[in-house]
């Protein structure tokens, strides 16, 4: 198929000839350029659907971030404004999410609720990740009895059901945002510690750590230069995945009446206070906060999935059947 181009203009060598045709061929994968080879895309088709999922997830996350950051300062309305003449209105143009049993606009309430839930989720995930990474890295890097002691403690804590431990912790404080954050963080760092420890243990046996030791690196330098940077992507991934988890936890605590004070709009509180109206057949006060709990979860999971794929790309030499 590919006949060599004869009678080329003398001098059209090197980069100039290189640049032109390549650019031309870029738009469509199957486009004949001069007499060159006919290129067709290779690789798996799966990647394109995955890209779509990642794009949708990213768009949702962006939308949520914008809503949560911009709506409260810009909104002209008061989310707490009670309007008893407009209570329990179904969704309409004036109130896209409807109104609750005291006539507050649910869209606004939901945005405020999402804001609080996200904040709790983010801070709790961050605290849990820092704690888990520190403990896991220390256990993995030091090894020996430190490792055994720490991991035994982690196992013991893990054997207590999350929610139960969480309830126990919030019960010790007055209701508020911080007790919830602490409760969620304290119950969630354990899995991160396990992941990080396992990763550190596997990194510690790599020849490049041997080479560093042989090159005179101290324990501290090996940890800071090779081990911790090596586990950060995994820890970051765990942190991202933990945000929705922590949001659900906050909601669960609030739903049980143990989390945030009832007047504060959080997704959990919104669902909790809508229970009564749901029995009366009014579905919207439950549905929308519920959706706002589920959709960000899926979007974040979608982004985290792409991240995970980047962490473990298929190595070229690893041609699996």
């Amino acid at each position: 198929m590919a006949e060599p181009v004869t009678g080329r203009v003398p001098g059209t060598t090197g980069t100039t000839a290189e640049g032109g045709p390549v650019k031309a061929a870029e738009g469509g994968p199957v486009e004949t350029v001069e007499a060159g080879p006919v290129w067709k895309p290779a690789g798996t088709v799966r990647s394109s659907t995955r890209t779509l999922r990642v794009r949708v997830s990213a768009a949702i996350v962006l939308l949520i971030a914008l809503a949560v950051l911009l709506v409260p300062p810009l909104a002209q309305l008061d989310q707490q404004a009670v309007d008893l003449s407009a209570k329990l209105l179904p969704p309409s143009w004036a109130h896209p999410f409807g109104t609750d049993d005291v006539g507050r606009d649910l869209l606004l309430r939901c945005v405020y609720g999402l804001r609080v839930s996200l904040l709790v989720g983010l801070v709790a995930a961050l605290v849990a990740t820092v704690l888990g990474t520190a403990v896991g890295a220390a256990a993995g890097a030091l090894g020996g009895w430190t490792d055994r002691l720490v991991m035994r403690a982690v196992d013991t804590l893990s054997s207590i059901p999350h929610l139960l431990l969480g309830i126990f912790i919030v019960a010790m404080f007055r209701p508020g945002v911080w007790p919830v954050v602490v409760s969620v963080a304290v119950t969630h760092w354990l899995s991160t510690a396990r992941i990080v420890r396992a990763e550190v243990l596997s990194l510690r046996g790599r020849p490049y750590v041997d080479a560093a030791i042989s090159g005179g690196a101290s324990r501290w330098r090996v940890a800071v230069r090779h081990l911790v940077p090596g586990v950060l992507p995994q820890a970051g991934l765990a942190a991202v995945l933990m945000v929705p988890h922590a949001m659900w936890h906050e909601s669960a605590l609030s739903f049980l009446g143990l989390g945030l004070p009832a007047h504060q709009a959080s997704l959990g509180n919104l669902v909790q206070s809508a229970r009564g109206s749901l029995l009366a057949g009014d579905w919207w006060p439950t549905l929308f906060p519920g959706l706002l709990l589920i959709i960000p979860t899926l979007a974040i999971a979608g982004l985290a999935g792409a991240w995970r794929d980047r962490l473990n790309p298929r190595r070229r030499s690893e041609l699996s059947l």
Binding site: R206, P207, Y208, D210, A211, A212, I213, S214, G215, G216, A217, S218, R219, R221, V222, R225, H226, P229, G230
Partner: protein, 223 residues
């Protein structure tokens, strides 16, 4: 002298992979250690580089009996043995650029200021192009990466070199080039070499003398 006496080592005390190995290397001497795959010669190489604590036996380095391994070995002792491994991919931190990979030992030993000059000199000596120095491990070939790993092993000017199957992943030309670099370094500094490998032709061509695994392992040591 680099002397290994009665070394028994492994990863499980009940089933050591090395049993009663003896090895002595004079300063400036190059010794090729031949052995089949999986015989434990890599473990012995790690012991010789003070990277693996043997279950039994002693290592003596320039007259000093080694009492600790890995981080427990004094820094000047463990940096006196340079080590090159079989698989450059595993021996290079994937996050480091080649320049930092080579300079790392100088930085780790507080000689940061010498790094630029030493890296420039050594990378040229191992045949690593300047434009490759800003790349990370996954952006270069096995051969290029192994060149960087050899430069890293030489940058502290060790008195001993342990090359564990250094050329097993490499093509003939890169093999010959890296062996030449090692030999030039040894001619410069008088460093001793323990080259572990499985290719008798290569080791015979490279080293002053070669010995076979069976000859250095004590047959009488049983369980």
């Amino acid at each position: 002298m680099l002397e290994l006496t009665g070394i028994t080592a492994g990863y499980d005390r009940r089933a050591p992979v090395v049993r009663g190995a003896h090895l002595a290397l004079r300063p400036g001497e190059s010794l090729g250690l031949l052995g089949p795959s999986g015989c434990g010669k890599s473990t012995l190489a790690r012991v010789a580089a003070l990277l693996h604590r043997p279950d039994r036996g002693t290592v003596t380095l320039d007259g000093r009996a080694v009492t600790g391994y890995r981080h427990r070995a004094p820094r000047d002792l463990r940096t006196s043995v340079g080590v090159v491994f079989q698989q450059p991919r595993l021996a290079a931190d994937p996050r480091l650029r080649l320049r930092d990979l080579v300079a790392e030992p100088l930085r780790a030993t507080g000689r940061r200021t010498e790094a630029d000059a030493a890296v420039a000199e050594l990378t040229e000596r191992v045949g690593l192009g300047r434009d490759l120095l800003t790349r990370r491990a996954h952006e270069v070939s096995d051969g290029q990466l192994q060149r960087a790993c050899l430069a890293r092993a030489l940058i502290l000017r060790p008195r001993w070199l342990v090359c564990d199957e250094m050329t097993a992943m490499l093509d003939a030309s890169t093999t010959a080039a890296l062996v030449r670099v090692v030999e030039e370094y040894r001619a410069d500094t008088g460093a001793g070499l323990l080259a572990v490998g499985h290719d008798p032709v290569l080791l015979a061509r490279w080293c002053d003398r070669t010995t076979h695994w069976d000859e250095i392992v004590d047959g009488t040591v049983k369980d």
